[in-house]
Symmetry: C2
Subunit: 145 residues, 2 copies
Protein backbone atom coordinates (compact mmCIF):
# COMPACT_ATOMS: atom_id res chain seq x y z
CA UNK A 1 0.00 0.00 0.00
CA UNK A 2 1.97 2.98 -1.23
CA UNK A 3 -0.72 5.60 -1.82
CA UNK A 4 -4.02 6.21 -0.03
CA UNK A 5 -6.72 8.44 -1.44
CA UNK A 6 -9.05 10.36 0.86
CA UNK A 7 -11.73 12.96 0.20
CA UNK A 8 -12.96 15.99 2.11
CA UNK A 9 -16.06 15.19 4.15
CA UNK A 10 -16.60 18.82 5.20
CA UNK A 11 -15.06 22.27 4.86
CA UNK A 12 -14.07 24.92 7.42
CA UNK A 13 -15.70 28.36 7.23
CA UNK A 14 -14.19 31.20 9.26
CA UNK A 15 -12.59 34.63 8.89
CA UNK A 16 -8.99 33.41 8.56
CA UNK A 17 -7.89 33.54 4.93
CA UNK A 18 -4.12 33.45 5.24
CA UNK A 19 -1.59 31.62 7.39
CA UNK A 20 -0.25 34.72 9.15
CA UNK A 21 0.40 34.49 12.87
CA UNK A 22 -1.54 32.24 15.19
CA UNK A 23 -5.32 31.77 15.03
CA UNK A 24 -6.57 32.66 18.52
CA UNK A 25 -7.89 29.83 20.66
CA UNK A 26 -11.28 31.55 21.09
CA UNK A 27 -11.82 31.90 17.31
CA UNK A 28 -15.14 30.54 16.06
CA UNK A 29 -15.35 28.34 12.97
CA UNK A 30 -18.11 26.49 11.18
CA UNK A 31 -17.65 22.99 9.78
CA UNK A 32 -20.06 22.18 6.95
CA UNK A 33 -20.60 18.59 5.79
CA UNK A 34 -20.53 18.17 2.02
CA UNK A 35 -23.84 17.36 0.33
CA UNK A 36 -22.99 13.72 -0.38
CA UNK A 37 -22.62 12.86 3.32
CA UNK A 38 -25.86 12.24 5.21
CA UNK A 39 -26.76 14.95 7.74
CA UNK A 40 -27.63 12.11 10.14
CA UNK A 41 -23.88 11.47 10.41
CA UNK A 42 -23.92 14.24 13.04
CA UNK A 43 -26.82 12.76 15.06
CA UNK A 44 -25.97 12.63 18.75
CA UNK A 45 -22.81 14.71 18.34
CA UNK A 46 -24.08 17.44 20.66
CA UNK A 47 -23.98 14.98 23.56
CA UNK A 48 -20.22 15.62 23.40
CA UNK A 49 -18.54 18.86 24.47
CA UNK A 50 -15.28 18.33 22.57
CA UNK A 51 -14.32 16.94 19.17
CA UNK A 52 -11.11 16.11 17.35
CA UNK A 53 -10.92 17.53 13.84
CA UNK A 54 -8.57 15.91 11.34
CA UNK A 55 -7.94 18.20 8.41
CA UNK A 56 -5.68 18.85 5.43
CA UNK A 57 -3.29 21.82 5.40
CA UNK A 58 -4.35 22.78 1.88
CA UNK A 59 -2.10 25.86 1.75
CA UNK A 60 1.05 24.11 2.95
CA UNK A 61 3.53 23.55 0.16
CA UNK A 62 6.73 22.50 1.93
CA UNK A 63 7.50 19.12 3.42
CA UNK A 64 10.13 18.85 6.13
CA UNK A 65 11.52 15.57 7.29
CA UNK A 66 14.31 15.54 9.84
CA UNK A 67 14.38 18.49 12.24
CA UNK A 68 13.06 22.06 12.33
CA UNK A 69 12.43 24.86 14.81
CA UNK A 70 8.90 24.48 16.27
CA UNK A 71 6.70 27.37 15.09
CA UNK A 72 9.73 28.68 13.15
CA UNK A 73 10.90 30.08 16.49
CA UNK A 74 14.70 30.09 16.45
CA UNK A 75 14.70 30.45 20.25
CA UNK A 76 13.49 26.85 20.39
CA UNK A 77 16.07 24.19 19.49
CA UNK A 78 15.36 22.15 16.37
CA UNK A 79 13.45 18.94 16.99
CA UNK A 80 12.13 16.19 14.72
CA UNK A 81 9.01 16.93 12.67
CA UNK A 82 7.09 14.32 14.73
CA UNK A 83 8.05 16.11 17.97
CA UNK A 84 6.04 19.20 17.04
CA UNK A 85 2.90 20.05 15.10
CA UNK A 86 4.20 22.08 12.11
CA UNK A 87 2.02 22.00 9.02
CA UNK A 88 5.12 21.38 6.86
CA UNK A 89 4.98 17.67 7.65
CA UNK A 90 4.70 14.66 5.36
CA UNK A 91 1.02 14.26 4.37
CA UNK A 92 0.14 17.81 5.58
CA UNK A 93 -2.39 16.44 8.07
CA UNK A 94 -3.61 18.70 10.88
CA UNK A 95 -5.35 17.66 14.09
CA UNK A 96 -7.01 19.97 16.59
CA UNK A 97 -9.15 19.32 19.63
CA UNK A 98 -12.05 21.81 19.59
CA UNK A 99 -15.01 22.75 21.73
CA UNK A 100 -18.41 22.09 20.17
CA UNK A 101 -20.72 25.07 20.55
CA UNK A 102 -23.69 23.82 18.54
CA UNK A 103 -24.86 21.57 15.75
CA UNK A 104 -27.44 22.78 13.26
CA UNK A 105 -28.27 20.33 10.46
CA UNK A 106 -25.09 19.77 8.45
CA UNK A 107 -23.11 22.45 10.30
CA UNK A 108 -21.06 22.40 13.50
CA UNK A 109 -20.01 25.62 15.22
CA UNK A 110 -16.77 25.12 17.15
CA UNK A 111 -14.14 27.15 18.97
CA UNK A 112 -10.40 26.54 19.01
CA UNK A 113 -9.91 25.30 15.45
CA UNK A 114 -6.60 26.60 14.06
CA UNK A 115 -7.45 25.95 10.42
CA UNK A 116 -7.95 28.47 7.62
CA UNK A 117 -11.18 29.22 5.79
CA UNK A 118 -11.76 26.62 3.10
CA UNK A 119 -9.75 23.90 4.83
CA UNK A 120 -10.86 20.38 3.82
CA UNK A 121 -11.87 18.26 6.81
CA UNK A 122 -11.05 14.54 6.60
CA UNK A 123 -12.59 13.24 9.80
CA UNK A 124 -14.34 14.25 13.03
CA UNK A 125 -14.21 12.19 16.23
CA UNK A 126 -15.83 12.74 19.61
CA UNK A 127 -13.53 13.24 22.61
CA UNK A 128 -14.05 10.49 25.18
CA UNK A 129 -12.53 10.91 28.66
CA UNK A 130 -11.21 7.40 28.97
CA UNK A 131 -9.14 7.72 25.77
CA UNK A 132 -7.33 10.81 27.09
CA UNK A 133 -4.07 10.40 29.07
CA UNK A 134 -4.75 8.63 32.36
CA UNK A 135 -1.26 9.36 33.70
CA UNK A 136 0.66 12.58 34.27
CA UNK A 137 1.76 14.11 30.95
CA UNK A 138 5.45 14.76 30.32
CA UNK A 139 6.33 17.46 27.80
CA UNK A 140 9.42 19.63 27.21
CA UNK A 141 9.53 23.21 28.55
CA UNK A 142 9.65 24.72 25.05
CA UNK A 143 6.00 23.85 24.39
CA UNK A 144 5.10 26.66 26.81
CA UNK A 145 7.08 29.32 24.84
CA UNK B 1 -9.98 19.79 -4.12
CA UNK B 2 -11.87 16.54 -4.50
CA UNK B 3 -9.18 13.96 -3.83
CA UNK B 4 -6.15 14.06 -1.57
CA UNK B 5 -3.35 11.52 -1.77
CA UNK B 6 -1.36 10.58 1.30
CA UNK B 7 1.33 7.97 1.91
CA UNK B 8 2.25 5.79 4.88
CA UNK B 9 5.10 7.32 6.88
CA UNK B 10 5.42 4.29 9.17
CA UNK B 11 3.86 0.90 9.85
CA UNK B 12 2.51 -0.73 13.02
CA UNK B 13 4.08 -3.98 14.22
CA UNK B 14 2.29 -6.00 16.91
CA UNK B 15 0.66 -9.38 17.55
CA UNK B 16 -2.85 -8.43 16.39
CA UNK B 17 -3.48 -9.82 12.92
CA UNK B 18 -7.27 -9.70 12.71
CA UNK B 19 -10.01 -7.32 13.77
CA UNK B 20 -11.61 -9.64 16.33
CA UNK B 21 -12.70 -8.13 19.62
CA UNK B 22 -11.01 -5.20 21.25
CA UNK B 23 -7.24 -4.74 21.39
CA UNK B 24 -6.44 -4.34 25.09
CA UNK B 25 -5.32 -0.93 26.27
CA UNK B 26 -2.06 -2.32 27.68
CA UNK B 27 -1.06 -3.94 24.36
CA UNK B 28 2.40 -3.01 23.13
CA UNK B 29 3.06 -2.00 19.52
CA UNK B 30 6.04 -0.81 17.57
CA UNK B 31 5.82 1.98 15.00
CA UNK B 32 8.58 1.81 12.39
CA UNK B 33 9.34 4.79 10.13
CA UNK B 34 9.72 3.89 6.47
CA UNK B 35 13.22 4.15 5.03
CA UNK B 36 12.56 7.30 3.01
CA UNK B 37 11.75 9.36 6.11
CA UNK B 38 14.75 10.66 8.05
CA UNK B 39 15.28 9.00 11.44
CA UNK B 40 15.93 12.52 12.79
CA UNK B 41 12.17 13.13 12.37
CA UNK B 42 11.84 11.44 15.79
CA UNK B 43 14.52 13.58 17.51
CA UNK B 44 13.21 14.96 20.79
CA UNK B 45 10.10 12.80 20.75
CA UNK B 46 11.02 11.05 24.00
CA UNK B 47 10.61 14.36 25.85
CA UNK B 48 6.88 13.62 25.46
CA UNK B 49 5.02 10.91 27.38
CA UNK B 50 2.03 10.68 25.01
CA UNK B 51 1.52 10.81 21.25
CA UNK B 52 -1.43 10.90 18.89
CA UNK B 53 -1.22 8.35 16.09
CA UNK B 54 -3.22 8.96 12.91
CA UNK B 55 -3.52 5.79 10.88
CA UNK B 56 -5.43 4.12 8.06
CA UNK B 57 -7.86 1.25 8.78
CA UNK B 58 -6.42 -0.83 5.94
CA UNK B 59 -8.69 -3.83 6.62
CA UNK B 60 -11.92 -1.84 6.76
CA UNK B 61 -14.03 -2.32 3.65
CA UNK B 62 -17.39 -0.80 4.57
CA UNK B 63 -18.27 2.88 4.69
CA UNK B 64 -21.20 3.99 6.81
CA UNK B 65 -22.64 7.45 6.59
CA UNK B 66 -25.71 8.29 8.61
CA UNK B 67 -26.14 6.35 11.84
CA UNK B 68 -24.92 3.06 13.33
CA UNK B 69 -24.65 1.30 16.68
CA UNK B 70 -21.32 2.23 18.31
CA UNK B 71 -19.04 -0.84 18.49
CA UNK B 72 -21.86 -2.81 16.76
CA UNK B 73 -23.45 -3.01 20.22
CA UNK B 74 -27.22 -3.10 19.71
CA UNK B 75 -27.69 -2.14 23.39
CA UNK B 76 -26.44 1.30 22.42
CA UNK B 77 -28.82 3.44 20.36
CA UNK B 78 -27.71 4.31 16.84
CA UNK B 79 -25.81 7.58 16.54
CA UNK B 80 -24.16 9.41 13.64
CA UNK B 81 -20.84 8.07 12.38
CA UNK B 82 -19.13 11.28 13.62
CA UNK B 83 -20.52 10.69 17.13
CA UNK B 84 -18.48 7.52 17.58
CA UNK B 85 -15.15 6.12 16.45
CA UNK B 86 -16.11 3.15 14.22
CA UNK B 87 -13.57 2.21 11.56
CA UNK B 88 -16.38 1.98 8.97
CA UNK B 89 -16.27 5.75 8.44
CA UNK B 90 -15.64 7.78 5.31
CA UNK B 91 -11.85 7.89 4.70
CA UNK B 92 -11.20 5.00 7.16
CA UNK B 93 -8.96 7.20 9.30
CA UNK B 94 -8.14 6.08 12.85
CA UNK B 95 -6.78 8.20 15.68
CA UNK B 96 -5.48 6.92 19.00
CA UNK B 97 -3.72 8.60 21.87
CA UNK B 98 -0.89 6.33 23.05
CA UNK B 99 1.77 6.24 25.73
CA UNK B 100 5.34 6.40 24.44
CA UNK B 101 7.52 3.78 26.11
CA UNK B 102 10.75 4.31 24.18
CA UNK B 103 12.28 5.51 20.94
CA UNK B 104 15.13 3.57 19.36
CA UNK B 105 16.33 4.92 16.00
CA UNK B 106 13.45 4.69 13.55
CA UNK B 107 11.19 2.77 15.95
CA UNK B 108 8.77 3.87 18.68
CA UNK B 109 7.46 1.41 21.25
CA UNK B 110 4.01 2.48 22.49
CA UNK B 111 1.13 1.15 24.55
CA UNK B 112 -2.57 1.67 23.92
CA UNK B 113 -2.60 1.58 20.13
CA UNK B 114 -5.75 -0.18 18.88
CA UNK B 115 -4.44 -0.81 15.37
CA UNK B 116 -3.66 -4.12 13.69
CA UNK B 117 -0.24 -5.40 12.64
CA UNK B 118 0.70 -3.85 9.30
CA UNK B 119 -1.44 -0.75 9.74
CA UNK B 120 -0.13 2.22 7.72
CA UNK B 121 0.56 5.27 9.91
CA UNK B 122 -0.15 8.66 8.33
CA UNK B 123 1.03 11.03 11.05
CA UNK B 124 2.34 11.22 14.61
CA UNK B 125 1.88 14.25 16.87
CA UNK B 126 3.06 14.94 20.41
CA UNK B 127 0.40 15.46 23.09
CA UNK B 128 0.67 18.94 24.61
CA UNK B 129 -1.27 19.69 27.81
CA UNK B 130 -2.54 23.07 26.72
CA UNK B 131 -4.21 21.63 23.61
CA UNK B 132 -6.24 19.14 25.68
CA UNK B 133 -9.70 20.13 27.00
CA UNK B 134 -9.39 22.94 29.53
CA UNK B 135 -13.04 22.64 30.61
CA UNK B 136 -15.07 19.75 32.00
CA UNK B 137 -15.81 17.16 29.31
CA UNK B 138 -19.41 16.26 28.49
CA UNK B 139 -20.05 12.82 26.98
CA UNK B 140 -23.06 10.52 26.79
CA UNK B 141 -23.41 7.63 29.25
CA UNK B 142 -23.14 4.99 26.49
CA UNK B 143 -19.41 5.66 26.03
CA UNK B 144 -18.88 3.88 29.36
CA UNK B 145 -20.64 0.69 28.21
Amino acid sequence: MSEITVKPIAFVRNEFQEAKGIIPREAISKIELIDSISIASFDGIDDFSHLEIIFYFHKASKVITGTAHPRNNTNIPKVGIYSHRSRNRPNHIGLTLVKLIKREGNTLTVSGLDALDGTPVLDIKPVVTRFLPQEKIKEPDWVKL
